[in-house]
């Protein structure tokens, strides 16, 4: 039976998974440093979100072909 609680992203699980998925042989000390940095990074990533942002706000760079020469 599904829980009524809203699921919360687990940063520790995310971090472990992403590091493992990278396939890069990070040492234990480096992993500790990266875990701290990951918290800062996710804090910054949260700042790039805007509640209710319109989907008209597209991403940069804009992917469109250049105009034909001479146009």
């Amino acid at each position: 039976m599904a829980s009524d609680e809203k699921p919360v992203a687990d940063d520790d699980v995310m971090f472990e998974g992403l590091i493992r998925a990278s396939g890069v042989p990070v040492s234990d000390q480096e992993k500790q440093d990266l875990r701290k940095a990951y918290s800062s990074l996710m804090g910054l990533a949260a700042k790039t979100r805007r509640p209710g942002r319109s989907w008209d706000v597209r991403m940069l760079p804009v992917y469109s072909p250049k105009p034909p020469k001479g146009s």
């Binding site: 990533a45 979100r49 805007r50």
Partner: protein, 466 residues
């Protein structure tokens, strides 16, 4: 000759070379002597092209004497950041991973400078794989030292470029900039540096760090010299997908036009309320506005989103793109990276696709804020540094997460920026300002920069290398 710095500016050298009063051979020898005398301490160059530079100088002299003067860069000694393809030489980006890499053609900017008659003095140090912040240690070459104080950082990643120009080892250097890598070392070393509009200067043959931020540009003693360099470097190149086919204006002739009536927007909250920069920085940057006001410019103040928002976007995009570029080597050659560079890049592996895309969407919104400001103002002025030059031996792994990146906003927005010397700290270290202009309008940016430099007179102070 400007004996205080040991070498002249490009403008002065070019005038004398054209008039037959200065030999490129003598100029190159002066630079080589300075390198020989001081670079064992400064570490700006990792490789000096002694024989090649002498040979090129003789060739330049011969051409000029026979009436084939190519222009103001003919016979001018220039240093190359070690990220540019240079046929016949290794391009390492200061990484053991690239120790044996040799491109089979020149970078576009190398070709342009070669065609203009510039003389290459050697390859300049950088932070490993140009990942800025603080110097990378345990890389292929030791970090460059700041000529104003050898115990302090040059800033990066064009660290050798900033140091070499400040120390008078060459009259100009090439740098690259994905988050301030031209502008930060320019500010820290007290020289002028131009990050042109994204797409103005070809990045073909520049080892990449960030596909959507990477720019290539000149670092010089004066903004007048930057204009001469940019004139040679700018132009469309179909080999660079980011290069834009648009006309290149005359950057040099309008330099001495009056700034009277130009509208200048001071972006103060970046260095006052968003980050509590030292009083000396606040006073110096405010002083740029005051100086321009004294020259007849109309000075106002602009407000955009807090600096942390810009920093956040840059901090998500930059390592993600860097990691994508270097993923294979990180997986297979991890031990060949220096520890600082590899850990900075590893941050990119932790950025999910949705984080990256949200950052790029926020970038669109932020770009519109600067576009709105530049609809009202001709240029925007803010600081190029939030702190004094840190100690060289600071090995914190992620310093850039603690202090917001003051240069990255204009990598996000793609606008042209010139860094100028805006004053000094009480201990004599230089302070730099950024002058930002409308897309493709480097000419106005350089005009304002030149007017400020002439009026302020800060470039009459030189680092003491003795």
């Amino acid at each position: 000759m400007d004996v205080d710095r040991g070498v002249p500016t490009i403008v002065e050298a070019a005038r004398q070379i054209k008039a037959g009063m200065l030999s490129p051979v003598a100029l190159v020898e002066t630079c080589l002597e300075r390198i020989e005398k001081y670079d064992s301490t400064i570490n700006a160059f990792h490789t000096v092209f002694i024989d090649e530079a002498r040979k090129a100088a003789k060739q330049a002299e011969k051409e000029i004497e026979s009436g084939n003067y190519r222009g103001p860069l003919h016979g001018i000694p220039v240093g190359l950041k070690d990220v540019f393809y240079l046929k016949g030489y290794k391009t390492t980006s200061n990484s053991r991973v690239m120790e044996d890499f040799e491109a089979d053609e020149d970078a576009a900017v190398v070709t342009r400078l070669r065609d203009a008659g510039a003389i290459f003095m050697g390859q300049l140090n950088t932070y490993e794989f140009t990942f800025g912040g603080r110097p990378t240690f345990n890389a292929l070459y030791p970090p460059a030292r700041n000529p104003w104080d050898i115990a302090r950082s040059t800033g990066g990643s064009s660290s050798g470029s900033g140091a070499a120009v400040a120390a008078g080892f060459c009259l100009a250097a090439l740098g690259s900039d994905a988050g301030g890598s031209i502008r930060t070392p320019s500010a820290f070393c007290g020289v002028a540096g131009m990050k042109a509009t994204f797409g103005r200067v070809s990045a073909f043959g520049d080892l990449p760090l960030s596909f959507s931020f990477d720019c290539v540009g000149p670092m010089t003693w004066t903004s007048e010299d930057s204009a001469l360099m940019l004139q040679a470097l700018a132009g469309y190149d179909e080999r660079d997908p980011g290069s834009v086919e648009t006309s290149v204006p005359d950057y040099v002739t309008p330099l001495n036009d009056s700034v009277r009536g130009l509208k200048v927007g001071m972006l103060r909250h970046f260095y006052t309320t968003d980050y509590d920069a030292p009083t000396e920085i606040v006073d110096a940057i405010d002083g740029v506005g005051e100086t321009l006001k004294g020259l007849g410019a109309i000075v106002g103040e602009i407000n955009v989103s807090p600096l942390i928002d810009w920093h956040a976007v840059g901090r998500v995009i930059l390592p993600a793109e860097a990691y994508a570029i270097h993923e294979e080597n990180l997986q297979n050659r991890w031990e060949e990276f220096g520890p600082l560079a590899r850990n900075r890049m590893m941050l990119g592996s932790l950025v999910r696709a949705v984080d990256y895309i949200q950052a790029q969407r926020r970038r669109t919104e932020l770009l519109e804020e600067i576009e709105s400001a530049l609809a009202e103002y001709d240029v925007i002025i803010t600081t190029a540094m939030l702190t004094p030059q840190p100690p060289l031996d600071d090995k914190a792994p992620f310093p850039f997460l603690d202090v917001p990146m003051i240069a990255v906003p204009f990598n996000l927005t793609l606008h042209p920026v010139q860094t100028v010397r805006a004053g000094f700290f009480d201990d004599g270290m230089p302070i730099g300002a950024q002058i930002v202009g409308r897309n493709w309008d480097e000419a106005t940016v350089l005009q304002v920069a030149h007017a400020f430099e002439k009026e302020a007179g800060f470039l009459k102070r030189f680092p003491d290398l003795s």
